[in-house]
Amino acid sequence: MGEKKRKLISGRPKCLLPAGTPLCAGCQHGIGARIIGEVVDELGIVGNTIGIGGVGCHAMSMFLMNIDFVQALHGRAPAVGTGVKRGTDGKAIVFSIQGDGDLAAIGIGDLINATVRGEKLTTIFFNNCGYGTTGGQMAPTTLVGQVTTTTPSGRRPGAGGYPIHVAELMAGLSGVAYSARCAVNTLAQYKRAKKAVQTAFQKQIDGIGYGFVEILSACPPLLKMRPTQAREWFEKHMLAEYPLGEFKNLDELKIEYQVDA
């Protein structure tokens, strides 16, 4: 009897460092980091990948990854990614990790203009319906009626407006090749999310266009709930507001000349 052999069914991806996450208990951003790690491992692009971190809890996953990272200003990750992509002559695989306060509030112009310029980047967008890092203020993605520190009686459309659906917005833009919204609350959703992230990276590698994936998750400290309660709240309210699925998946961007040269 020698030492018994074991085959790994599922474990920590190779490009994630063996360290604990700095995130709160029940925060699903760690699963998002794991998905990115697995996809980068499976595509074999570890040495060729540069990540752009926004500002927020989602960017903490850059401390976990054994991948080169650039920290961007708040919301400017697609602009910094453009510089990295063009500076490396288009050879680097560039992805940005952004949250909803970062991408949907201050950075929506940068994101849209990156697709308008026809950049071939990948953006992973973590949506948790509020600003988690700064203490739970209202974000553009906050649900109508949701209580936050800046909307103590719930978000009212008259004063606070309506939640923004970024994945649908991105699907309507010409430069985007892939846009999807995923969740990571069950194993089936996890596998769909992983496939979506993989496709979004593949669109960039093949040089087709912009890949965008929105990953929904609940923020237990923002909701002032226990992790399992927060996940129930997420399944009841967030999934009702934000439908899951692929909104755009093109193998080729059609180019039609509107004016004959």
Binding site: K4, K5, R6, K7, L8, I9, S10, G11, R12, L16, G20, T21, L23, C24, A25, G26, C27, Q28, H29, G30, I31, A33, R34, L64, V184, N185, T186, L187, Y190, P227, T228, R231
Partner: protein, 76 residues
């Protein structure tokens, strides 16, 4: 009952665990329960029980936000 030919082991890194119990909820065979022990950061962590029932789906590992669970199949 059909013969079970797959032996699965689940390694839980108790120091990374923050006690969210997502793994306990995700297990369809009730192979994980929250224990009473407390790790160095003050959270309770799950323990692996009922090894003979585990089918090795990996749901606990994939859905762990702290990436603290590893699932292995024992090869004879």
């Amino acid at each position: 009952m059909e013969k079970k030919d797959k032996i699965v082991e689940v390694d839980i890194n108790s120091e990374f665990c923050k006690g969210c119990s997502f793994c306990v909820d995700s297990c369809s065979k009730d192979c994980l329960i929250m224990g009473d022990a407390i790790n160095s950061t003050g959270y309770t962590y799950p323990v692996f029980v009922n090894q003979e029932d585990c089918i090795g789906c990996g749901a606990c590992s994939f859905l762990c936000p702290e990436i603290a669970i590893e699932v292995y199949e024992v090869i004879h």
